[in-house]
C-alpha cells in the first residue's frame, strides 16, 4: 500500500560482496534495517501488529552468490536528499555491502519487484575446464528448441519447466581464474531463469563455479504496464531462498 506515512522513496544501487554471500534475503533486509536505524534515517514501517521495515528488494539474491549492482527501494517518513541518505547510511553498513548510487523515485510508481525483467550473471568455472569445450557446449545448448528441466523446490512438488526461453544470452570468454560464462536470464514472475540451472544444463556442477549477479535489468519506466502502477507493494516478501523462516513462505 502506498501509505501516506512514506512521502519519500529512494532507489538504492548497492554491491553485495562475497563476505555476505551466506546470509539469506530476510537477513539482508534486517541488516539494512538496522543500518538505517543506526544512521538515524526516518525509515517507514508497515502498519499493523507486525510492523516491518518498508524496504523492498528488486529480486532476492540466492544464498552463496555475490551481486555487483543490486537494487532496493527504501521508503522514508520524511524527505531526505539522496546524497545525504548515501553519506549517512554508507558508514553504517557492514563490510560486504557498498552503496553505489541513490536516487529519488516517484513514490506512487510500480513496485520495484514488478519492474524486474532480467538479470545478467557471470560464472567463473574452475581453471582446468577448456574454453573451447565450454563454447562448444554452449553452442549445442543454444541449438535446442526446448530444455525441459525440473525445479527441485525445498518443499512442495518439483515443477517441470522449459529453461530455453528464459535464456536471453549465453556466451563464454577467457578469464584469469578459468573460463567465464556470461548469461542474461529472464526474471519475470513465474519465469525466472537460474544460473545454476544453466550451468547444470551445460553439464557443469554449479557448486564448483563462483557465480556473480552482475546486474538486474528493469523495464524502462515508460514500459511498465499501466495496470501495475496500483499493485500493492511487495514489502518484505518472503522468497523461497529464505532458509530462515521456512514454513512461513508466502505463496
Amino acid at each position: 500500500m502506498n501509505e501516506p506515512s512514506a512521502p519519500c522513496r529512494l532507489r538504492v544501487v548497492y554491491a553485495h560482496g562475497p563476505q555476505l554471500q551466506y546470509i539469506s534475503h530476510l537477513d539482508l533486509i534486517r541488516v539494512f534495517e538496522r543500518a538505517v536505524r543506526r544512521a538515524r534515517l526516518p525509515l517507514a514501517y508497515t502498519q499493523g501488529f507486525n510492523a516491518r521495515p518498508r524496504i523492498s528488494m528488486a529480486s532476492p539474491l540466492p544464498v552463496g552468490m555475490a551481486g555487483e549492482r543490486e537494487l532496493a527501494d527504501f521508503y522514508l517518513t520524511e524527505r531526505v536528499p539522496a546524497g545525504e541518505f548515501l553519506s549517512r547510511l554508507a558508514p553504517q553498513l557492514p563490510p560486504g555491502l557498498t552503496l553505489l548510487a541513490v536516487e529519488e523515485v516517484p513514490r506512487q510508481g510500480p513496485s520495484l519487484a514488478s519492474l524486474v525483467r532480467a538479470a545478467r550473471y557471470r560464472a567463473v568455472l574452475p581453471a582446468h575446464y577448456s574454453l573451447a569445450e565450454v563454447q562448444q557446449r554452449i553452442d549445442e545448448l543454444l541449438q535446442q528448441a526446448v530444455l525441459p528441466r525440473t525445479r527441485r523446490a525445498k518443499k512442495g512438488r518439483p515443477t517441470d519447466y522449459d529453461l530455453r526461453p528464459l535464456i536471453q544470452a549465453l556466451t563464454a570468454e577467457p578469464g584469469a581464474d578459468g573460463p567465464v560464462v556470461r548469461m542474461t536470464l529472464a526474471a519475470l514472475p513465474g519465469a525466472t531463469g537460474r544460473p545454476e540451472e544453466v550451468l547444470d544444463a551445460l553439464g557443469y556442477p554449479p557448486a564448483r563455479a563462483s557465480i556473480v549477479r552482475e546486474e538486474i535489468i528493469l523495464a524502462p519506466h515508460a514500459e511498465a504496464p499501466a495496470g501495475e502502477a496500483g499493485l500493492p507493494e511487495d514489502v518484505g516478501e518472503v522468497p523461497e531462498e529464505s532458509g530462515d523462516f521456512a514454513g512461513e513462505d508466502a505463496p
Partner: protein, 633 residues
C-alpha cells in the same frame, strides 16, 4: 620449547571455508563471522590470543549476555585479541571433519589450537560433551593432564563453574563468579608468564590458583570411602586454597554497549541492558537466586545512558531489560517511563522477561506493550499453596487470579503458566491443584475474551541443583514422575488449555551431572566417544551412549542424581564458596520440609552470609536515585 614452536605455527594460514562446505549448511552465516561490532584485530600485533568458546550453537551463544560482556572487555585491552567460537551444528561438524578443517575463531579464521587461551562459558550441565567435542575438533588434547606449554590454556566460567567436578579432568582453571574482573586478572597473569624466558605450565597454573575466584582442579585430589562415597577434596599443592570463593563485582560494570549484532535471527535477537543482578525472592529450587547474590540494582540514569548507546551502536528494534525478577527493581516504573520517553521518536519495543505473578507486573507489561497484547507468562511453579510454601514461591492463588484478571481485562489473550513436576514432598494432590488453577485462569479469560482466551501450561521436571536449599534432595523417582505427569495430563485436558512438558528423559542425566563428582569425567569422556553431544537437544540425545558410559565405569546415574544426602555429607561442590553459608541453605531446606516460608530479603535480612562474606556496605545494593523527575511517557 613448546610455546616457541606454537608462535611459529601461529603464522600458519587461516582456515579456508569453501562454498562446498558452507552452502549445504542450514545457516552458513553461523560460521563466517564479520557481523556488525565484531572486532577485527591484527593477529600478529596481539600479544595474547583469547578464544571465547560457547558449547552450543551460534544462535544460542550469541544470545548470551555474559559472553558479549567478556568479549567486549577482553577486546578493549590493547594487546589482547579476543575471538569467538560456537559449537558447529552436527551437519557442519561432519563437513569440517570430512574436509579436515579444524575448529577456528570466527574473525581471525585461525585454528583454535593457535590461540593462547580458550575460555569456555559453561551455562548448563547438558553442554558438557560439546566442550569435549569442540576441543577435539580444535585438535587440542581433551585432558588437562595431556596438555603442555605448546597447547592453549583451557579455562571455563559461567554458572556451570559452580559445580566444576564433572569437568575437572578437561579444564585447567575455572573462574567462579562474576567474570568481569577476574578475566582481566587471568590475562595479566598469562601475559607476565608469557614474557618469562623459560615457561612451565605448572608455574602458570600455580599463579592462576593464587587468584581469588580461580579453581585449579589439578591441585586437588578427591577422596572416597570403600563404598565409593565421596569424602571431599584434598588440596595437594601449597597454592591451592581449601575453598575457592567466588568473585563478586560490587558495582555492575558498564558493559557492553557494542555487542555483536548477528546477521541471522538468533534466540534473543535484541539489545540487552542488565538492570539488576541477583534476586531476593529466595525460591528454594533456584540456583541463580543464590549464586548471583547480592542484588545489585543499576541506576535509572545509567540504564538510560546504556540503552541509548546500545541502540545507537546496534540499530536493534528491541531492547530487553534483563534481570532475574524485573518487577523487583525499586525504580522499575521510572525506568520504563524514561526509556519510553527517550525513544519516543522511533519504533522500539521493550521487553521485560521474568515477571512476577501479580497485577503490578501486568501493569508493567501493559506499559511496555501498548499494541500487541498476545501472550503473558507467569511462573507459579507449583499447584497447591502447601507446595508453593515448600519451595518458597511467594505466590498465592489470589495473586495469580488477580494477575490473570488484570491481563485478560487489558486485552491479553493468552497466558502461559510454568510449573515444575517432581518437587520435594510433591503429592498427587499438589499436581491436581495445578488443574484447578489452570481452569480458574481459563474461566477468568473466558469472561473477558470468550473463546479466544487460551492458557498454555508448560511443565518441567524439577532437577536439584548445587548451592540451593534443595541440593540435598534426590531427583524424583521415575514411577512417581510418570504418575504425576499422567495426573497433570489428565487435569489439563480442557478445551482452551494446551499442555507441553519437557521430556523427562534428560532430567536424570542433568541431575547426575549437576550433583556428580570427579568420577563423572570418565563417564562424560566415554559418552562423548560413543557419540554423545548436544545432549540438551532432544533429537540429538543418545541415552544408550550414556548408559554404556556409566556402566563401563561401574557407575549409575542414580548414584549421583538420587542419592539422598545429609548435612554431614561431603558435597562435590563444597570447596566452591558461593558466599551463602551451608548452614543457611540447610536451615532453608528444613524450613521447606516444615512448610515454612521465608520473606523476600529486601525487607529484612535473613543472614544468608553474603553480606558478611563480601563485606558489603548494604544488602541488597539498591540504586539510589534522586526523586523521580522523569517526563511523562
Amino acid at each position: 620449547m613448546g610455546s616457541a614452536e606454537r608462535r611459529e605455527r601461529a603464522e600458519a594460514p587461516q582456515v579456508q571455508l569453501s562454498a562446498e562446505i558452507l552452502l549445504p549448511q542450514a545457516k552458513p552465516a553461523r560460521y563466517t563471522g564479520g557481523e556488525w561490532n565484531a572486532r577485527q584485530k591484527d593477529w600478529r600485533a596481539a600479544e595474547i590470543h583469547l578464544a571465547l568458546a560457547y558449547p552450543d550453537i551460534y544462535d544460542v551463544g550469541m544470545s548470551n549476555l555474559g559472553f558479549q560482556i567478556l568479549y567486549e572487555i577482553a577486546n578493549d585491552i590493547p594487546d589482547v585479541l579476543c575471538d569467538r567460537v560456537y559449537a558447529p551444528w552436527v551437519d557442519m561438524e561432519e563437513a569440517m571433519r570430512r574436509h579436515g578443517l579444524p575448529l577456528y575463531g570466527l574473525e581471525s579464521r585461525r585454528p583454535l589450537a593457535e590461540f593462547d587461551i580458550i575460555g569456555f562459558q559453561l551455562p548448563y550441565e547438558l553442554n558438557m560433551t560439546n566442550v569435549l567435542n569442540m576441543l577435539d575438533l580444535a585438535g587440542v588434547p581433551l585432558l588437562s593432564a595431556q596438555r603442555d606449554e605448546g597447547h592453549p590454556l583451557v579455562i571455563a566460567g559461567g554458572s556451570g563453574a559452580y559445580h566444576p567436578e564433572p569437568m575437572a579432568d578437561f579444564i585447567d582453571a575455572f573462574a567462579i563468579g562474576d567474570g568481569e574482573e577476574v578475566l582481566v586478572e587471568i590475562l595479566d597473569v598469562y601475559r607476565a608468564w608469557r614474557r618469562r624466558p623459560h615457561r612451565f605450565r605448572l608455574q602458570l597454573l600455580e599463579e592462576l590458583a593464587r587468584l581469588e575466584g580461580v579453581y585449579v582442579p589439578a591441585f586437588y585430589r578427591p577422596r572416597y570411602d570403600d563404598k565409593g562415597r565421596y569424602l571431599g577434596l584434598q588440596p595437594v599443592h601449597p597454592d591451592a586454597p581449601e575453598r575457592v570463593c567466588r568473585r563478586v563485582v560490587e558495582r555492575l560494570p558498564l558493559a557492553p554497549v557494542r555487542p555483536v549484532v548477528p546477521y541471522i535471527s538468533i534466540v534473543h535477537d535484541r539489545a540487552m541492558v542488565e538492570i539488576q543482578r541477583g534476586c531476593t525472592q529466595g525460591c528454594r529450587f533456584c540456583q541463580a537466586g543464590i549464586i548471583y547474590r547480592p542484588v545489585r540494582e543499576r541506576s535509572v540514569e545509567e540504564i538510560c545512558r546504556l540503552a541509548q548507546q546500545l541502540i545507537d551502536h546496534t540499530g536493534y528494534e528491541e531492547l530487553g531489560l534483563l534481570s532475574l525478577s524485573s518487577a523487583d527493581h525499586s525504580q522499575i516504573v521510572e525506568i520504563i517511563r524514561r526509556l519510553k520517553a527517550q525513544f519516543a521518536d522511533r519504533p522500539l519495543s521493550l521487553s521485560l522477561p521474568s515477571l512476577r505473578v501479580d497485577s503490578f507486573s501486568v501493569e508493567l507489561a501493559n506499559m511496555i506493550q501498548e499494541r500487541r497484547r498476545s501472550g503473558l507468562t507467569f511462573a507459579p511453579e507449583a499447584g497447591s499453596q502447601r507446595l508453593r510454601d515448600v519451595i518458597n514461591k511467594k505466590v498465592r492463588a489470589e495473586d495469580l487470579f488477580q494477575a490473570a484478571e488484570a491481563a485478560f481485562q487489558s486485552g491479553w489473550l493468552r497466558i502461559k503458566l510454568y510449573f515444575m513436576i517432581g518437587l520435594p514432598t510433591e503429592t498427587v494432590e499438589d499436581v491436581r491443584a495445578i488443574g484447578e488453577l489452570v481452569r480458574e485462569v481459563l474461566d477468568i479469560g473466558r469472561r473477558y475474551a470468550g473463546r479466544r482466551a487460551q492458557v498454555a501450561v508448560s511443565a518441567a521436571t524439577f532437577v536439584p541443583k548445587p548451592h540451593t536449599p534443595f541440593q540435598w534432595v534426590p531427583l524424583v523417582a521415575e514411577d512417581t514422575l510418570a504418575e504425576h505427569i499422567a495426573v497433570l495430563q489428565d487435569v489439563t485436558r480442557v478445551k482452551g488449555v494446551h499442555l507441553s512438558w519437557h521430556a523427562p528423559i534428560t532430567s536424570l542425566l542433568e541431575a547426575a551431572l549437576a550433583r556428580g563428582d570427579r568420577r563423572l569425567g570418565q563417564v562424560i569422556h566415554r559418552a562423548w566417544q560413543l557419540g554423545a553431544k548436544f545432549d540438551a537437544w532432544e533429537e540429538q540425545f543418545r541415552p544408550a551412549a550414556w548408559e554404556q558410559a556409566f556402566a563401563e565405569n561401574g557407575l549409575h546415574p542414580d548414584d549421583f542424581a538420587r542419592r539422598p544426602l545429609e548435612y554431614a555429607d561431603a558435597l562435590p561442590w563444597d570447596h566452591i564458596d558461593a558466599g551463602v553459608t551451608k548452614a543457611f541453605l540447610w536451615a532453608e531446606y528444613q524450613r521447606a520440609l516444615r512448610g515454612e516460608t521465608l520473606s523476600d530479603c529486601r525487607g529484612v535480612c535473613h543472614g544468608c552470609g553474603i553480606r558478611g562474606r563480601f563485606h558489603l556496605m548494604a544488602c541488597p545494593l539498591l540504586a539510589e536515585e534522586p526523586a523521580a523527575e522523569g517526563k511523562p511517557a
